[in-house]
Symmetry: C3
């Protein structure tokens, strides 16, 4: 069918029809189910009892904006490193994120804040939605350049659901018993009993009680990074292209595309402390989480430079390592940064993550392709996969060391089940470990299903010779003012196949 | 006179002399009139009664910083899409904004916060000034590449005054009667009775009573977007260049200029929730406004991708649409996002705006030039004009549906005149509609006057063959390290004319 | 030794070994000394007495994030202007900052928040660390392109210590007597009695009393800009390269490198109000400081455009001026923006700074190189040196005018020694002036020592013909997709020497 007019016509319609359908369906579901929550709706916010200054907006929105910048600027530009795929990298990230944030508002809403027949939204649902988008974009990094936008939207449709279920299982179902007679809390997206926290601190009415989370993962080492990475890697395995070397000449960077990618890197790096702390407990919780992440990132940057020079040809640094592995410090403390990690612990974790990630780019990515047939375009296994698993294991370790002495009153917030004597620290550590296995299982099965979905034969997918190429999807201007549009045309290219 | 030495000398002096004069005059006016307000000046902030934590700074400054980033990063880089006009796009945006923010502090100060012979400034005057700068930059987008910096400064000199008067009329003069015996409030720039809001919430002394606004327009669908767009379009009409095709070869983008422009797009997109909510009521007001804008932008992104692919050659996406129309969701809820729009309403509005905007780029911009002789370089009619008018009409609709039940205590904040029984919802809707007409009138007459001003024969303006060209105004390096400066020189070029 | 295999092997190992050593040593010192402070550690934050909403995190973290963006995005990209040194500019800034923030946490901690055998960290130590990083990056701007990364790390190792000591002397030792029986405050990094401020405002337990600072310098005109600039300039003098013209062809910019640099400029510009106000007193202190900086920057932008066109060839603007001198308004109010500068004073100061800075680039930088043998790659003398000294002098002037009437209760916060009658305003002005001389002395002696350190013969340093060249340190892709790696290779080049 390749190269035929019908195929071109099909491609012409797949993306717009899918966009229109998904947006239409989402809007209908919003109309039926989504309502402002008590902190967003003036009629529900009883003015006499609350000060406007206590609205959760002021404690979460600055963090949200940083997370938002990471998702759209950070991920978007980080993927611009490919020489001829800049429009697609930043554009499809934009499209995918704009859809996935709506869809995850619905999915997470059904699972976490559905009561009286409605989903209730506010700043914490915005953060949770952006977190889920992060996982989807991580997965898309493994597929970068090898899938069309319609395929990516379908992937998001599936992945957001599985992300929500996995998170729900970790937060609420892993325990021996589910608390009876209690409603899920309004702000329980990441399992943070927000209302209670805030109620204790600022006078917000505790609207609903919240069951304590079974597994802690505030910054998503498991639920975001591990899940997103292995979902994408398994999916990439299913979509394995043995003939991909036809597009190898476009798989590298050029000088200015690497500089654009550094915009993404730096914005991810500077705002990661806000990412990990966005949904932790108010007060010392957010404060400590941000501080730990700041130290961890600094250490992963130094270990990345050290290792990149050590393993580089003639001792020269490799921009791919700096762009990616320097960020591993943020991933590796995703679970433990809200715990009593200590500043030293944060440095050590970051150092280890930067090392593992850099070595992964150098030595493991080639093996992943040659032996395991996983073509991981932007190296998500090195930046999110391994550091995510390490981060989950670090969470096991730190949770296992939790004591009343070290946490004081904070124990009630971070590990309520330990504080209330329902669990020992060792037992909590085992739950954390089990959470990692559950996540890996969901990610693998989900990625496999995703691969089957994306292989549906009628879906438009770039040819092996057309991967990493903007012109398949975009009207592309020349590189200089005196150039006409580039000679390669999609229709002609189709006939190569 | 073209090409003569005297012209070159004139050009040499126009910009610096105008900059020096404007800055000098502004400084003198600041010395005479501008003082810190009660929230900024320690001597006026009675320590015994106020907690530092209640200073309005903490509730508005994070929003201000986002707005500031939109103005300087967002607008600046969005306009870098032209292949040879990057220095001018980002540089003149910078210059224009730096002047206009000072000038609008004065103009808005005289109109809104002038008492006891002084203008009182603080974080809300910074936000209001940046909002006015937004309108000026929108207008400049229609003229991009066709005017010199001195012309743009003169445009700002006029436009800021008209912006201030239009806003003042909408907020205070449209009503049947002006409240007697009341002083305008300190923070009334956008008509938000800030002190009262805050007084109710946090203990700030209600320094001055504020008359309730006649028309609501928190995010400026009318006062910023509609006003800025039609002011610029009418001005562009007056400056119509029939010979502009002499510069057509420079009017497109190149690959990396489109990527730079995406930096602008993404920063505008992520911070737009802060823009619309920056001056809304504290607490639920800001919370709900940000949430509505977030949803609207997500939907406009999906409809933009859908429509761009639908109308694109071979179904391929057009970067111009993505860079611009995806932002229309922020414009279209500028008036209504502080109202009970509902999440579904936000999605529907954004979807419509993205659709109209994309279709505008494809079908209406060419007609605008050929039939209406309006050369709209960056398509402000599509991004700000039509979505701004749609946003005003949406405000009419949503205001007309306002009820005590839906808004609860919030009615007093959003529509105080309805809450106090002085107006029906239908009557408020009529005021909103009348506000749109007033804005269109001010913009059109103002744009016409601006055109006459900019046509003053002694003003330096690029030749028809020199539009969209940085070298007219800048010392430009080559594109590669082995290139000398580009061959085209302004002096030689002048002789073409 | 140039060109020999042993040299190449040495280079291969210097950077990684130094990174590993510095990170290892830092981690050990963290393990022994660094602990969470009372606002970060839940066990220390007595829940019953404090509201979470009063945690200092909420009053400082948004400012910190802006400062963080300035350091990593602003400085990083500002230095990308060199045509072939983009990877090094943004990469070494990243590396240097990631190390220096850890090291300055230790150094400043020992000097300012060391008690009971531990350094206590929290959001204010993050801000103080980033401030110190700013000084280090300013110094590195003078050396840009002429030093290897290992040299830069050694410079940071020395400079951070001297920065800390200089700041300590200014804040605490310049007075006639040191207050007996008082502990240094937890948050006293910039000499702000944070706990007291906050204690007065929001209910935080005043954990430790703080000695009032002897010299005020909230935004670091002296401690950051003057110190960083003259440290770097003296260091550059010691490293003077008479044969640098061998690399002159790479010292300029290309079109897109100038656009990348403007990303740095704009992010520095928009967030500078947060920089100067990050550590000022809560409430009106932060509010007023941000407002003053905003006005000063606007004025310096106009004077920069005016002067750049006045002195430019054919009246054309020079991108170097816009990228740098427009920022001088932030530097010049670094000391005085927390004082009663008045909005007019801010405009006047900014105007002057932009003028001096632009003229410096045009006329003084060439003299600096030819007469004083200081090769100042990115012109830090114009952006940080002269405006920093001007800012210190402005601080002398404004401090000398301090009265109870003008400051009201604010006098106690800004000039506690005047408020308590221990000093006259004139006397405070003399202390401020003395602070400038002390800073210049520390910077000069430190820069000299730094130069001797960096000249150690075994340290890897680029050849005169290899300055401003990424390939010395990085694996560099081509500029276009059809290019192989650039022909120049480091090994070959070495043999030129």
């Amino acid at each position: 069918m390749a190269g035929s007019p019908s195929r071109a016509a099909g491609r012409r319609l797949q993306l717009p029809l899918l966009c229109l359908f998904l947006q239409g369906a989402t809007a209908v579901l919003f109309a039926v189910f989504v309502r402002y929550n008590h902190k967003t709706d003036a009629a529900l916010w009883h003015r006499g009892n609350h000060s406007n200054a206590d609205n959760e907006f002021y404690f979460r929105y600055p963090s949200f904006q940083d997370v938002h910048a990471m998702v759209f600027v950070g991920f978007g530009f980080l993927m611009v490193f490919l020489q001829r795929y800049g429009f697609s990298s930043v554009g499809f990230t934009f499209l995918l994120a704009a859809f996935a944030l709506q869809w995850s508002t619905l999915v997470q809403g059904f699972l976490h804040s559905f009561h009286s027949g409605h989903i209730h939204v506010g700043v914490e649902s915005m953060i949770n939605a952006d977190f889920c988008v992060g996982a989807v974009l991580i997965s898309s990094g493994a597929l970068l350049g090898k899938t069309g936008p319609a395929q990516l939207l379908l992937m998001a449709l599936l992945e957001v659901v599985l992300f929500g279920i996995n998170e729900f299982v970790l937060l609420h179902l892993l325990g021996v018993r589910v608390w009876g007679g209690m409603e899920w809390g309004v702000g329980g997206g990441q399992g943070q009993p927000l209302s209670q926290e805030h109620g204790g601190g600022g006078g917000v009415l505790p609207l609903h009680l919240t069951a304590p989370p079974q597994v802690r993962d505030a910054g998503g080492s498991m639920t975001i990074h591990t899940f997103g990475a292995y979902f994408g890697l398994v999916l990439s395995r299913v979509l394995y292209r043995p003939q991909l070397e036809k597009s190898k000449h476009r798989q590298g960077s050029v000088y200015h595309s690497d500089l654009f990618a550094m915009i993404g890197t730096i914005f991810l790096w500077i705002f990661w402390p806000s990412f990990n702390s966005a949904l932790t407990a108010l007060g010392t919780g957010q404060h400590q989480t941000a501080l730990n992440t700041y130290y961890s990132l600094a250490a992963s940057t130094l270990s990345t430079f050290a290792l990149s020079a050590l393993v580089g040809e003639d001792g020269r640094l490799d921009m791919v390592h700096i762009q990616n592995a320097a960020l591993a410090g943020g991933v590796v403390v995703g679970t433990s940064s809200e715990m009593m990690l200590t500043p030293f612990g944060a440095l050590a974790a970051g150092f280890l993550a930067g090392t593992v990630s850099t070595l992964g780019y150098k030595f493991f990515t080639p093996i992943l392709e040659s032996k395991f047939k996983v073509q991981d375009t932007s190296g998500v296994h090195n930046l999110h996969g391994m550091p995510g698993v390490l981060g989950a294991l670090l969470g096991v370790l730190v949770a296992g060391l939790a004591t009343h002495e070290a946490y004081g009153d904070g124990l009630e917030r971070v590990f309520p089940l330990i504080a209330e004597g329902q669990r020992s620290a060792t037992s909590q550590a085992m739950y954390q470990l089990f959470g990692l296995f559950v996540t890996l299982m969901f990610a693998s099965v989900g990625g496999g299903l995703g691969g089957l979905l994306l292989k549906l034969p009628f879906l438009d997918s770039p040819l092996d010779s057309q991967c990493y190429e903007d012109q398949v999807h975009w009207q592309v201007p020349g590189e200089h003012e005196d150039e006409a549009q580039r000679p390669l045309r999609v229709e002609e290219a189709d006939t190569q196949a």
